[in-house]
Structure formats: C-alpha cells, structure tokens
Symmetry: none
Subunit: 235 residues, 2 copies
DNA sequence: GTTACCTGTCACATAAACGTCACGATGCGG
DNA sequence: CCGCATCGTGACGTTTATGTGACAGGTAAC
C-alpha cells in the first residue's frame, strides 16, 4: 500500500529525514516548507495522506488543516499532525479539527511509518467483500474459504485469488497477460505459461468435488469461468 | 456518543458549571462531592467515564482512582483528572495510576467536551462482556476464565484478549495487522511476527485439552478461529 | 531484594507455495 | 491425415511464509 504523501515541515533537516524514511518505505513524497506552498500543491495533486507540522511560519498548520477539511475534494484526506511538544491542548485541538493521528517529536522512523500504515488502513475502503456463489461453487473472501458442491476445498493463495477473479468476472475470456496483471499484479514478471500451471492446480483442487469443468480453456485466447458447459469429455 | 459520566468535584460552583456543560453535550451526569460518595455511586451504577478532581476532602482523588483500577469491574473505565496545579509531578502520577487524560484548571468547557469525546472514542470499541462458547471452548470475560473441553486453561493477558477477539469474530480471517489493531491497540507498535508467537502460545495452551486445531493459519492472509476443520487434501 | 510471570524479538527449522521446464497430448488449418 | 501451435501435466529447485525455542527486559507480587 504505497501512498502519495504530502509532507509539510519547515525545518529542512527534519523534512529531509522524514522524506528519506517515507521513500524507503515505498511511498512517494511531495514536500512543502510552509502552508501556502502546501496549499498550492494540494490544488494540483491530491495526496493520499498529509503529514503536517503543527508549528509553521505564516499560516499555521491548524489553519491549513481547517482548509483541507473545508474543501469538498480534500475533506477525506487523512491528516497526521507532527508536534514538537506533547502539549495536551494541541492534541485535543488537533483531533478536534479532524486530524487522524498525531505524533510528538522526537519519534522513531519506524513509529512514523507504522502510524501511517495504520491510518491508511483505517481509511482504506473497508470493502466488505461479498461471497461469490456460482455453479455449485462458493468463495468467501471474509473467511477465505471455498466450497465445491458442499465440500471444503483447499487452495493456495494464488489459486484463491485466481478463482476469485475468474468468478467475479465469469463468462468472460481472460488472456494470460490479463490474468497476470489482475491476479499477480502488473509489476511482477513471470512467464505466461505459469498461468497454465495455476489453472491446472485450481482444476485439480475443484474437480474431484464437481463434475463439470467450470474453469474452461479457450484455445488461442485464454481462460474463462463459466457455468454453461460447452463440451465436456472425460472418462 | 452520549455517555454516562461520574463527576467527582467538591467545589459546588465548578461542579455545577461542568455538569451543565456535560448535559448540554448530551451526556448524563452523576455527581459526587467526595470520594466516599463516588465510591458508593460506582457500586450501584457503573459510569462510562469518570471526571475526577485531584484535590478532595477525605480520601484523595488519587486514592479513589487507585481503587477503581484495582477492581475488576471498574478497571476499564476511563478517568480524566482535573487539577488546579499544572505541576509535572501530579501529571506523571496521574497518568501513572492509569488516568487517560489530565486537564489543568482553568479549562474551557469546549476543551473539556472535546477531551471527553477523544477519550471515549479511544475506548469505544469495547467488546461484549458476555461469555463466548464455541467448539468446546468457553471464554468468560467477567471471570477472566477459559475452559477447553471442561479443563481450566491458563492464559496470559494478551493470549486472553487474542482468543477473545478471535472467538467473537469466528470464521473470519484476520491479518496480522488487523489483530495488532484490535488486540494490542492501534497506538502500539510491535512487529507483525509477534502475533505468530502469541498464536503459538495460545495453541500450546489450548491443544493439550482439545484435539482440533481451532486457531487456524490461513497462509498468506492471517489467522482464523473456526470450528470447521480444514482438512489437508492431497492429490 | 527476590521470584515468578509475561512480553517482544530474534535466529533458525520446517513446511507450503511458487515459477520454470521438458515432454506428451490435443486441437486446428491446410 | 499431417504438421504446427497450443495446452496439460508431473517433476524439481528455489523462494517465501510460518512454526518454534531461546533470550533479555520489564512488571508485579511477595
């Protein structure tokens, strides 16, 4: 879950330190030394999260936060406040404004990264993935369970994701490269034939329980999940 | 989130002022002018939060707080300390005892209400206090006891909370970071692998009595409590 | 103090899952 | 019916995730 983070911090040394750590954690960082600059950046590129120093020259961090909350487009962006002292009053005001967390300096890089992760996760679309049921097959993301004709089926992580994708995009044909993008992720580099192998593993896990070939091969194009059996030959 | 608040304050004027503001914020208020009265009230009706003056006639606020923390039933109730002095030592002592926040007089009503909101929100996700019984396991939050197939099992505090959470959210898969948030709290920072270790401690405490693996591993995703045993299926 | 937990972290062991290949099987166009 | 392209399959070495035992620090009870 790499994120695009806006860092608003006037002290150059600290800004550099934080930015380095964020980058190392896989995030991209946009920097501003004052609230005015930050405001300008926000207008152009919406960040996923704002790291905001409490004390800033000119417009205060509080004021900047308030404006973020006032604007429709930026209202949902989580804010983590940075503050030099652990003054309780600041904390209350910050949380009151709608900051999602606050960190008092000095803090460890690990702690910072951990909190960012926590806030992003909390804000993340709590997509309550619904179970899919199709052709005697049932796949439930919440329990991470697959049932074929009532029987529990054991799948590896990749086969699970593969089946999930195929079932939620049933009846459609997916090329190997499409499947690699959707199931493996578009950054990984694996052979296309690897898909074949996982399809095989998927079938051999499902078909002892089912007697129809739901995961079908479309020669020259790819694979498809379908309840409509085109042709089934076995012995 | 309206709450039932116990206000312990000996100065009538201040008590009245605070009570009025709390009521206006939608809370219900129980009042006491001294710690003895407060103690009596607590025995009859558990408050959601205690607003406690530091300096009281007779038993001091500190002593009252200590007793609240000592009793199983009142241990979880958040405490906000009120004090006229802003001396660091008091603050440290207060937080040491287990106060959740600390406010020095004079304070604005708005600040008070904001802090109460913050503290309540922090404490908000309180699990149900009912006993859970599942798959031969019985866990009772009230007595802090766990029985596996009739036999009493000894668990450390963390293992207890972990099991409690897993049982009250059975069948669902929880990632390590979700478990850290829910069982440890989202402000704590520990390694994700620490979860593994506690799962192991939990298992080795339970499994001598049970013969099924109720705490299951879902490779690549996390852990799950389930009475439905996933079998290993081979080709 | 001393003792007996409990805790978080590590290093290492174990097991599952992964990606790749070689080869055989199958389908399709000519 | 042939030949080529495509796909299925089993095996295998490697990578990754999880299980496990040990350890140092911390805390509370005694």
């Amino acid at each position: 879950m790499p994120a695009n983070i806006l860092l608003v911090e006037d002290e150059p040394a600290i800004q550099e330190l934080i930015a380095a750590n964020l980058t190392r954690a896989g995030h991209t960082v946009m920097r501003a030394s004052d609230a005015e600059t930050a405001q300008r950046i926000v207008r152009e590129a919406l960040p996923d999260l704002v790291l905001l120093d409490w004390m800033l020259p000119g417009m205060s961090g509080v004021e900047f936060a308030r404006r973020l909350r006032a604007d429709e487009r930026t209202r949902g962006i989580p804010i983590i406040m940075l503050t030099a002292r652990s003054e309780e009053q600041d904390k209350v005001m910050g949380l009151d404004i709608g900051a999602d967390d606050y960190i008092t300096k000095p803090f460890s890089p690990r702690e910072l990264v951990a909190r960012i992760k926590a806030v992003l996760r909390r804000r993340a679309p709590q997509a309550t993935e619904d179970a899919v049921e199709l052709g005697g097959l049932r796949l439930d993301p919440a329990t991470h369970r697959v049932t074929a004709a009532g029987e529990l089926v054991n799948l590896g992580p990749t086969e699970f994701r593969l089946l999930h994708f195929l079932m939620t995009h049933a009846e459609r044909v997916h090329s190997r490269s499409q499947l690699l993008d959707q199931v493996w992720g578009d950054h990984v580099f694996v052979e296309e034939r690897t898909v074949d192998v996982h399809i095989r593993r998927l079938r051999s896990a499902l078909e002892p329980s089912l007697h129809d070939r739901l995961v079908q091969t479309v020669r020259g194009s790819g694979y498809r999940f379908s309840t409509e059996i085109t042709e089934m030959v076995n012995n």
